[in-house]
Subunit: 767 residues, 2 copies
């Protein structure tokens, strides 16, 4: 695959690498973009969900009678209204999550498994009646003891969430007994006993991370309209309209062609909008009521009942030689799945040592259900937890060996040919280039200044790895009669992918990017397209766009050949038009050919579909961070922050930088402040943004992004996914900075003032 | 091309020919379908158009000052705000109508040319303020004498509408002088002098038809949102979203990719919604005001200022031999274009003798501007006027020769190989089959019963011809993961084409039709697709659907070959799945293959684009009608009505029958009641449905449709266009019935009571 670089490696691209204003920019800054909650239909009802006040309980009975009697109430639904286990056919499609669990999460069937678990839903003529009606539904619970901590949940005497659940373990025969351990995952390579025997220094540490939420500003929402003939339309905020369609049809037992999902604009997702909560409820209520129904969550509902990411407990044992080669790593990763199986522990294990070439390793992951909301994806799911552990251990180990921690990482860095945890070897990657970029940056060499009074300053560094996803995408590219173009994809645009995709089409066709109009279509209007996630859109949907543009160019060549009455191999596409290879100077521009499309065979439309699994290129990122620690209060301030990342090729550098900055900011929030606080009773105590503190602009310095470009050889423009890896390094980088500022190693997230203070005091006490 | 018929000619289709409920049916009968006027946007302004009270005047000045000063008024625009002649680049694209005339029709530049001509437009915070503001705009006119009749307009001393207009005449050198004759069109074949010399009987008659309106129930509407970056979206009721886009961009001087046109559901069009009136105004006002703007016409505005069809004056001279062979026809057709050039006179001439094989003919058409609204298309544009003349003359000529008029038509009927007026010869057509179907129908052989008192009963018959259009269409067909399908086209659905297109996809893929979800996409989401008109959608868009399905089937075969690790030529698609040609019984269903799409290469999406100009098949229709004429009042009642039509292949017979009935009903309204009534001052006097009388259910008997199927050899299913030809025969059929009832030949439409009475009295006086 070509990358348009000249001999000096300079890019010859005309559009790629520039920074045009995004096509949806004006709509968004002027408030005109239509988000899910903006959708309003004639005769629309408003829904409200009744949620469990208990973390663990059996539902004895639900009586909706009084609610149904309230004037204005049009429908009440409970778990009994969903197809039950015995009614379910085998799930259709590839990679489908367990539809019964999904159904039980959407509406509890027999048990409630976490504070906020949906129990019933109401549709009424206005939101106030709906709220009143929800309070009139009488639910009798038999309250059960909850289990909230992953280690507690693994005890033999722990309360069991799912009596039918058995451990899924690919290697050992798991015992046939009730358990909260849904799955055990292993990655093993080499011989760790030999590896540890060869080590001069061995370090073993344990780490805890808290359950944290993605903190997207827009709450979940859904507007559904189901006709009496079963044809349904759903508007919602989602990262994956095709996933929403499949999951809703799984839960409700519908053929896919019955449901059209229209993806609204999305006010943040970060992985949290890749599954369904309200969507099947809105459909079910609309079907019952015979009118459209809108459901919108409150912030409290978002925090209590959507999918945050797993808290975790991780043990890492690492050995290294005196000259700084890692010889062996052993790790156990325990991840909270929430109320139903499915934590990102496998991905965490795959990322734990992603930046390094380690010969001997044994990584074991445990997926454990607890009485918390079912976790969902959150930016590089599982990787930040793992890197907090591994990058802290590496930092401390380097210290012990007297080797500069960055140099230590360079000596062990993954490179082309290094096997990944899952097996396949890396193609060309930029791990070393990212490390070098950090080492060469002014931030790295600037001395750390001393501070007065109780403030200690320190600088920390950590690496992050994310493998990036490929998956399926579709694109169609239609040429207008004046030679401008319309580009249709099915990828909801979170980070500017309308524009990055349009830029690739513009590059190929020789058009200004503002003459390519990108559209994010609904599920009926474009071929299957997987979720906007896994940092895959600019890479994989971009690949489909590139291929669709080749399809267009092929057709343009055929049309020109027809006009000139020559064979198609006597023409070629170049510089935004078709030129003759036999008659010099003979040329038809895109606009010329578009103008003649009708007479030469009809409209010109290119299309492509891809499964980009073999086109992904791994992402490496690093964070260099200076912190001020107030040793009297435990407060930590980030004072300088530089993020480095191999992006392959930055199609639109400003949006790439935005991803790098955004991921860093979220990672710092995770590091310092964010956590789900549950009481003994299993009820969430901080269900709002006042108590669940995400960083705001005042909390952070300017985050300086440093783009490193090591083109992905499996992509025509060299694109790697850029959206996630920047969240991986921050918790460890901040912990390493705190260690250098104070000498105290933090092993628990968040590193909030009370916890920092406690660690400092412990250290004083033990000193 | 195959048509799935067995040896007896019986259809083997599984879906085609059945009568499923349309996919949009529930939405439409429950009021949920979104029509243009239903679109509401946040911050939306309401617009109103100031219209000329004069039929012909020079605009001396327009002062919007007082309107702009009215609180709530956000923008006022006049013709001066549109790009003027000198600013216009050459129009881009194929078959573009004159953009300057279009612009002048949208907003008068220097002159107003008809009562209701748009002069200015206002956007305000509500419709009442907009209406008030329109009245505050001060326009000074210099009133000029109008010319309303086509023959008056051709006089040398007639007022001239466009001082720059010169006659376009392809054959003779037209004089360089101001004129109202925009164009002269000729069709000539054989030698008419010889033809008339060979005739035993020659008849010459003149006919007049009134300007009539399509009478769609939904008035024109447009909602526009233009962003500060120039990106615009337009929602409107239209038969052709791509045409609206092109015409708006022509008028406003925009690249096509700046504007997205979202076609709303359409409450009737019949050709009248193929151009723009409010659409550019809404865009211009939104651009000025910086807010979305909605414009909706009143019924009066629809009648005064949209595009009815031409009134006309037609002379026909026809000669025939004693044994009933037409030897020669000479005709002059004078059609009102309205205020700007462009009547359907050429199409009228092409259809005048469509059902017949005439060796010697000379047809001359005149396109004449008059001070009436610019005409637009109306169902088989121009053909009903022409057939009223030719089918009346044929009927009278047959009478004179003592030959049964139906038998006379059979003797002269067009058949395979007969040249059309425009030159090319017919492929297989169903003209004779339609005549035979009428002759064999019980209605034809049932005696006409006598009536008492002043009522005279008579039966009339006439033929109609329409050539049908081809044009360009695009389709994409995506296979869902469960083997259901989504079908995207760009053809607004007026008569059930969502379903007819879905049926063809279902037929090809072996799916039930309700598992194919058809979508009419906006202009950004599908390749170029020409207007829903010319009876082309089921034929041409259907062809694209058929081709897209072949593309899908090709891909399915490739996937199956990949799964079985065999060459693609060792498999074939049959019965809704792919089967192995080498291993008996080895088979993968569509659902199997859809389920594996990801693993076998990504989503499966077919696409096709067509220019169907060579795929059209001509349509022939006939109407047999019984009327009761009250000789004391002149009132004519249709008491029995049977419509015959060669539809090629009825994809969905119920919707085909609906087209046949609808066209007949409109043709009867045109025959009996409808006309634009202008005063001497050129002002329209019947600008509402109380005074402009279209037939309602009580006015008509059940219209019995008789489908004749002579497959179009140029279409894979044999489809011919079915939407238009049924409007062609009715005026002549009713006139022929009145002649048989009363002996009086009507030569002027409408045959309203006063006109019938006058003709009967004239006849008595001359007898």
């Amino acid at each position: 695959m070509s990358t348009a670089s000249d001999e000096d490696g300079q890019s010859n691209y005309r559009v790629i690498g520039t920074r045009p204003v995004r096509h949806d920019g004006i709509d968004k800054v002027t408030g005109r973009a239509v988000y899910g909650a903006d959708v309003t239909l004639p005769g629309m009802l408003h829904g409200k969900v009744l949620r469990s006040p208990h973390a663990h309980a059996r539902i004895v009975s639900i009586d909706p009678g009084r609610a149904l009697a309230l004037p204005g109430v049009k429908a009440v639904v409970t778990g009994a209204d969903l197809p039950q286990a015995q009614d379910r056919e085998e799930a259709v499609g590839e990679g489908v999550s367990n539809p019964l669990h999904l159904s039980q999460n959407v509406l509890a069937h027999e048990k409630v498994l976490y504070d906020g678990h949906a129990v019933a839903a109401v549709a009424a003529t206005n939101p106030h009646i709906a709220a009143e009606a929800v309070d009139l539904i009488e639910v009798r619970y038999e309250v059960l003891p909850p289990v909230l901590d992953v280690r507690d949940a693994m005890r033999e005497d722990a309360p069991v969430l799912h009596p039918d659940l058995r451990t899924r373990d690919g290697e050992t025969e798991a015992p046939d007994r009730p358990t909260n351990v849904a799955a055990v995952t292993r990655f093993e390579r080499g011989d760790i006993d030999e590896g540890f025997a060869a080590a001069d220094e061995i370090l073993e540490r344990t780490f805890d991370t808290a359950m944290v939420h993605q903190g997207y500003i827009e709450p979940h929402n859904a507007v559904a309209q189901v006709n009496p003939d079963g044809q349904a339309t759903l508007w919602c905020s989602t990262q994956g309209s095709f996933d929403v369609r499949r999951l809703c049809c799984d839960v409700l037992g519908l053929p896919l062609s019955r449901l059209r999902v229209v993806p609204a604009e999305i006010g943040g997702g970060f992985g949290g909008k890749t599954t369904v909560y309200l969507e099947p409820l809105a459909l079910l209520l609309s079907s019952r009521a015979g009118q459209p129904v809108k459901l919108v969550m409150s912030r409290s509902e978002v925090l209590r009942a959507t999918g945050p990411t797993s808290g975790s407990h991780i043990r890492v044992k690492m050995g290294a030689t005196r000259d700084g080669r890692i010889t062996a790593v052993e790790s156990e990763l325990l991840y909270e799945a929430g109320a139903f199986p499915g934590s990102p522990v496998q991905m965490g294990a795959m990322c734990l040592l992603g930046p390094y070439d380690v010969e001997n390793l044994r990584l074991t992951g445990y997926d454990v259900v607890v009485n918390r909301p079912k976790t969902a994806a959150y930016r590089a799911p599982g990787a930040s937890n793992a890197a907090f552990a591994s990058e802290s251990v590496i930092d401390e180990l380097a210290d012990r060996l007297g080797i500069d921690p960055l140099e230590f990482r360079v000596r062990n860095a993954a490179r082309e040919g290094t096997p990944t945890a899952a097996g396949p070897r890396h193609r060309r990657i930029g791990c070393l280039e990212v490390l070098e970029a950090a080492r060469n940056h002014a931030h790295y060499s600037t001395p750390v200044t001393e501070r007065d009074g109780p403030i200690r300053r320190g600088r920390g560094f950590a690496m992050g790895f994310w493998f990036n996803a490929g998956l399926q995408s579709s694109a169609t590219l239609a040429i207008n009669a004046d030679g401008t173009a319309a580009l249709v994809t099915g990828s909801p645009d979170i980070g500017g992918t309308r524009t990055s995709c349009a830029m690739m089409a513009a590059e190929e066709l020789g058009l200004p990017v503002d003459l390519v109009r990108p559209v994010v279509a609904d599920t009926d209007s474009i071929g299957h397209t997987d979720v906007t996630g896994g940092s895959r859109v600019t890479m994989a949907t971009g690949l489909a766009v590139h291929d669709a543009a080749q399809d267009v160019k092929r057709q343009l060549c055929e049309r020109a050949a027809r006009v000139w009455k020559v064979d198609v191999d006597q023409v070629r596409f170049a510089d935004g038009g078709v030129e003759s290879l036999v008659e010099e100077g003979l040329r038809l521009s895109l606009a010329d050919l578009a103008d003649r499309a009708g007479r030469t065979g009809g409209p010109i439309v290119g299309r492509a579909t891809v499964n980009a699994q073999r086109n992904t290129g791994a992402a490496f990122g690093a964070l260099l961070v200076d912190v001020d620690v107030d040793v009297e209060t435990g407060r930590v301030d980030v004072t300088r922050c530089t993020v480095f990342q191999d992006v392959g090729r930055a199609i639109h550098p400003a949006y790439v930088e935005g991803q790098m900055q955004g991921g860093s900011a979220q990672g710092i929030g995770w590091a310092l402040n964010e956590e789900y606080v549950y009481g003994e009773d299993g009820r969430l105590q901080n269900d709002g943004f006042l108590d669940y503190r995400i960083p705001v602009a005042l909390d952070l310095p300017m985050i300086e992004p440093v783009i490193v470009e090591v083109p992905n050889p499996a992509h025509p423009y060299g694109v790697r996914g850029v959206g996630e890896v920047s969240i991986v390094a921050p918790p460890a980088a901040v912990a390493n900075a705190i260690a250098r500022a104070t000498g105290a190693r933090m092993n628990s997230l968040p590193m909030s003032p009370p916890r920092v203070l406690a660690t400092l005091r412990e250290r004083c006490a033990s000193a």
